[in-house]
């Protein structure tokens, strides 16, 4: 099967496992989704559902030696990244695929000046001279709207605020004009006002540079405001996948509904009882083959032990068709 021309990235039946004391844990269990060119795809789910592991598998940055990709394909611009050479991967990371990490303080090196760190990307990927790389880096800082970029180039990360540091990390990710940016909880550590600035910046840069974005977050509000398509993950699997407007208007899976109903919004009556999802995210250790959300709801006994299939029920809307959890 060849990818349609407007699809930039195709993740197909990706399986990633971690070797632990309790045996192999399957953190990503046959995950499939597409990222169209120039669009933003959100991956949402609670902690431990496999969002970040999915993203890190795409660029093969799993913790070593524990993390292993056991199957599937990740086709990026027609190349299967899972079978690419290490050299090819190194050129791709930071080149065609940029990554924005959650905690900018850990993504930046505290002992080097901002300028050196941003310039390094140009030195490595575009083989620019020191002087040209420095100028290109200053330009990048300008692009991410850092005031007085020439002076900020001489600063160390700790001299900047959280929002400014996140802009630097975005500058690093965008330096080589990547076709795809993977943003792993880019605004989780930030205040709402700064979050609004950063999301607005990413949106404007997307318009200017035409890149695709994979946005990983647990915040459904952020998803609703920024994403074209949404992938909902639960316990290592995709339970629902749809265009953002369709997903928020007609969520089809019980887990998606549960998530949407459990957050208070400004319209929820004060002190009313919020809907909850009983229990917590299933531990990957007690793996069941059947529907994992039924397991959380304590329905394991009453459902067939077959894994529910992810089916396209309306054009562009995919859902795991467990007889209990799929509610059309």
């Amino acid at each position: 099967m060849t990818a349609a021309p407007d699809i930039l990235l195709e993740v197909d039946k990706l399986i990633t496992s971690f070797e632990t004391d309790r045996g192999m844990l399957r953190a990503v269990d046959q995950v499939s989704f597409d990222v169209p060119r120039g669009k933003t795809v959100g991956i949402v789910g609670e902690s431990g559902c496999g969002k970040s592991v999915t993203a890190m598998s795409i660029i093969r940055l799993l913790p070593q030696p524990a993390g292993r990709i056991l199957g599937g394909q990740v086709r990026f611009n027609g190349i299967d990244l899972l079978r690419a050479s290490d050299a090819q991967m190194q050129a791709t990371r930071g080149g065609d695929i940029g990554v924005i990490f959650q905690e900018p303080m850990t993504a930046l090196n505290p002992v080097h000046r901002i300028g050196r760190q941003v310039a390094e990307v140009f030195r490595i990927h575009q083989k620019l001279t020191k002087r040209d790389a420095w100028d290109a880096a200053t330009e990048m800082l300008q692009l991410v709207r850092i005031p007085d970029p020439a002076r900020r180039m001489m600063d160390y990360p700790h001299q900047l605020s959280g929002g400014m540091r996140q802009r630097i990390v975005i500058a690093l990710a965008l330096a080589c004009k990547p076709a795809l940016v993977i943003a792993d909880e880019p605004t989780t550590a930030l205040d709402v006002t700064v979050q609004a600035q950063i999301l607005d910046l990413m949106r404007r840069l997307q318009d200017e540079l035409g890149m695709s974005i994979i946005l990983i977050t647990h915040d459904l509000g952020v998803i609703a405001e920024t994403c074209d398509e949404v992938v909902v993950m639960y316990a290592g699997r995709v339970v629902e996948r749809a265009r953002a407007d369709a997903l928020f208007e007609h969520p089809l899976h019980a887990y998606t509904r549960g998530l949407l109903q459990s957050i208070p919004t400004l319209d929820t009556p004060s002190k009313s009882v919020l809907k909850t999802i009983p229990g917590m995210v299933a531990s990957l250790a007690n793996h069941v083959h059947g529907c994992r959300f039924c397991q959380r709801m304590g329905r394991s006994a009453s459902v067939p032990n077959d894994r529910p299939q992810l089916e396209q029920v309306t054009p562009g809307h995919w859902v795991e068709t467990c007889p209990q959890c799929y509610q059309p």
Partner: protein
């Protein structure tokens, strides 16, 4: 105000000395809380919102006297606790408790859950061994944990369950006020709603008052009767929860509200994007801090003006700040004169 408030805070300041230079000498003050006045009625929830670094946690800690205020008064049930010694405070402490953001860090990993929950009774010399045992079992049941949880250690529990332990500990001595400092920010959304439901239920059953500190404005609105907005050590607006969301008067409140991402893609609100970050509370601008951040043309007017809260409408107070409220509101405030909340 007819009823006597449970808690009345007035002109509260908490400053931290900043030491700099080669010689460790006192060079400046970090004004974390800089002149705050508020009150909480029995059984009421006052929400407190603001960006990180605005002083909301410091205010919460000062109210339960985990920090010593620099000046001002904190009257709890008409007793001023702001200057009491630790010894004099001890018998009063059972009335005001605190729940922290990170339950993992606020529970001793070497104590069993039972020992953690028993400690308040021992400190206050309440009951004997068997009555304490019953009390702890009752607490565990009240926060939705099995009695067997007592024999385990806090690290064996998930984040949501740990927060339940933190709530049980705060609840132990039947306090009248609980300061909740970001109690659900570290939790997943499905667990967050469980904890919020529990807090609302406990309030109803025990008539608790909460000071609910959080940065998630939708969560704050959900649990609060009134909401106070804090910016750089000062309150800028305070009103009934419904009012503040429907009819914010202060420019900062408006910006904060517009920044909340809404889980509804059809709702495209106009965002007010703020430039820059919260300024440093060391050497804050002399006038309106928010006006200064926005580079407001009327900033000069705010220097030396009284920027404390004044009543604009029934149950609605806002800072009389020429940079941040409409001319109409400013005129109303000046006409009404001082009416502290």
């Amino acid at each position: 105000m007819t009823a006597t408030p449970l808690l009345a805070v007035d002109h509260l300041r908490v400053h931290f000395p900043v030491r700099g230079g080669i010689l460790p000498r006192h060079s400046a003050a970090l004004r974390a809380v800089d002149g705050v006045a508020l009150h909480i009625q029995p059984g009421e929830t006052l929400g407190l919102v603001g960006e990180s670094g605005c002083g909301k946690s410091t205010l919460g800690k000062a109210i339960v006297r985990l920090l010593k205020p620099t000046s001002g008064s904190i009257r709890f049930d008409a007793t001023d606790i702001s200057t009491l010694s630790q010894r004099a405070l001890r018998p009063l402490r059972r009335n005001f408790q605190m729940i922290f953001q990170d339950p993992a860090e606020s529970l001793d990993p070497r104590m069993s859950v039972r020992a953690i929950l028993e400690e308040p009774f021992i400190i206050h010399g309440l009951g004997d061994r068997s009555s304490r045992r019953l009390e702890v079992n009752g607490l565990l049941d009240r926060v939705g944990l099995p009695a067997t949880a007592g024999e385990r250690y806090s690290f064996e529990f998930s984040g949501g369950q740990r927060q339940r332990i933190g709530i049980a500990r705060a609840l132990a001595l039947k306090p009248k006020l609980i300061v909740c400092d970001e109690p659900v920010s570290a939790l997943d959304v499905s667990v967050q709603s469980q904890i919020l439901n529990l807090l609302v239920e406990l309030q109803r059953d025990f008539g608790l008052a909460y000071l609910f500190i959080a940065h998630d404005l939708a969560v704050v609105k959900h649990v609060s009767d009134r909401v106070a907005v804090m910016y750089l050590g000062k309150l800028v607006e305070l009103a009934a929860a419904e009012t503040i969301y429907r009819d914010p008067r202060h420019a900062y409140t408006k910006a904060l509200l517009s920044a909340i991402p809404s889980p509804d893609p059809k709702l495209k609100r106009e965002k007010i994007l703020l430039e820059g970050d919260v300024p440093s509370p060391i050497d804050p601008p002399p006038g309106s801090a928010f006006g200064h951040r926005m580079g407001h043309p009327r900033y000069a007017e705010s220097i030396g003006a009284d920027l404390s809260l004044a009543q604009i409408a029934p149950d609605h107070w806002v800072a009389a700040d020429p940079c941040c409220i409409s001319d109409e509101d400013l005129a109303t405030l000046r006409r009404n004169g001082a009416s502290p909340c």
